[in-house]
Symmetry: C2
Subunit: 249 residues, 2 copies
Amino acid sequence: MDTLAALSPEHTRLIVKLDSNSELTGAEKRAIGALRLTIRTYGADQDVVRDGDRVDRCCLLLDGFMHRYKTVQNGARQIMSFHIPGDMPDLQSLYLGRMDHAVGTLVPSRVAFVSHAAVQELAREFPGIGAALWRDTLIDSAVFREWIVNVGRRSAIQRISHLLCELYLRFKVVGLAGNASFSLPLTQAEIGDATGLSTVHVNRTLQELRADGLIASQGKIVQILNWTGLQHISGFDQTYLHFRSRGQT
Amino acid sequence: MDTLAALSPEHTRLIVKLDSNSELTGAEKRAIGALRLTIRTYGADQDVVRDGDRVDRCCLLLDGFMHRYKTVQNGARQIMSFHIPGDMPDLQSLYLGRMDHAVGTLVPSRVAFVSHAAVQELAREFPGIGAALWRDTLIDSAVFREWIVNVGRRSAIQRISHLLCELYLRFKVVGLAGNASFSLPLTQAEIGDATGLSTVHVNRTLQELRADGLIASQGKIVQILNWTGLQHISGFDQTYLHFRSRGQT
DNA sequence: CGCATCATTGAACAAAATCAAGCGAGGTGG
DNA sequence: CCACCTCGCTTGATTTTGTTCAATGATGCG
């Protein structure tokens, strides 16, 4: 960590994230620290990248909360992932230059952009960084798989509690959730778009979760009252998040 | 292609696949041709890798048809992808050694195994190969995203026709579909497990597709009678498959 | 204070699941 | 060679889950 003292908080955010999933050497961290970042601020509910765009850079979420989504014919939206600070929501564009989905903010957010060329060069020169980034996209992919299961084979209450389990753990890992409660800046409509449910049904299902004593919520603050119960009802198993434990993959 | 003449058909399968998504140099192709492959044959409906396994090799489907799936609490299964010859269904295990899902055959299949160590070394020595493999996993990921949309926001008839559109195109690209018809070795139960529907409902929906003159089928042979109509009803847009066209990504 | 957004509620409706049989082709063993 | 068994497909009736429609509260922000 010594070498990080001189780095900008933006670079540090990225290094800490990658280092938490893979392990980086000092040289690798320094190389990342030299990346040229372009920083921009967005309001809530703004698109950062649109579906179909050709892009030559990818983004790193510094502060805020983002999502990736597609819109279908009848105007319905499906959210495919949520992103928290440290995530690179469109890292896949590195080798898939044409976007097949949109990326947008959910709350006011600060985003850093890095050019694909710079990242590709870094990955070539430092295979360890390449592996860390690759692994990052693979975890992304593992989460997609779990979401297919979530919308495909789980009931409404299971879908929503599964989503809460995932977000709670991911928030906790980056220090955004403490003491079984966290700020979840989502409307019920957005929860529905992520779980393939209607807003009305999300509302009723959340009431059920509260009535069952599994969660409580005031405003955007969600409190997990019964973590075991929540995992149990949703069939949650954190394996798919591939948190690194003691150097293991 | 000259250098490929001396290669085994197994190595050729892999080279042709990677070369079709990314572009490989002669040296890269030769290096892949030197990979040590362990070949094994499986019957239908057998697991090649089980959920939770720790693996140190990944597999390449040579002949047959495979799928990836998870099983949820109540015993229901969700299929997350189908794989055709040339695919590496568990390439993600390269950097996610612990499986978060199972990989199995649907028909008798022939599979080649390559050790992770060998692939990782290859990727480091030949960054172009690394990029091609990475890109392959990113396309995998893009398909997962589309499947989330499919099960999350499409009606039964849309889900099934979308699946048919995807499989038809993918089969066609590897020469397994010709003249608007192809062999789809899936039971209706398996189609249901892939689309998040019950077997009964899959049956009725297929009848609807036939009644609408969109497809015909005799046994496992599916014939696309109205390709435009099928794409239209399902909202199919092949962008997410990221086929390479003239060197574009 | 007033508007806009989000949460909540009730009632009617629709899509899909479930339950329960029957059917039919292919394979097997007597 | 044929009875029989299994697996997959098909059908009808019923039930469940979730959607849609239409309002009504609540909350927050300018």
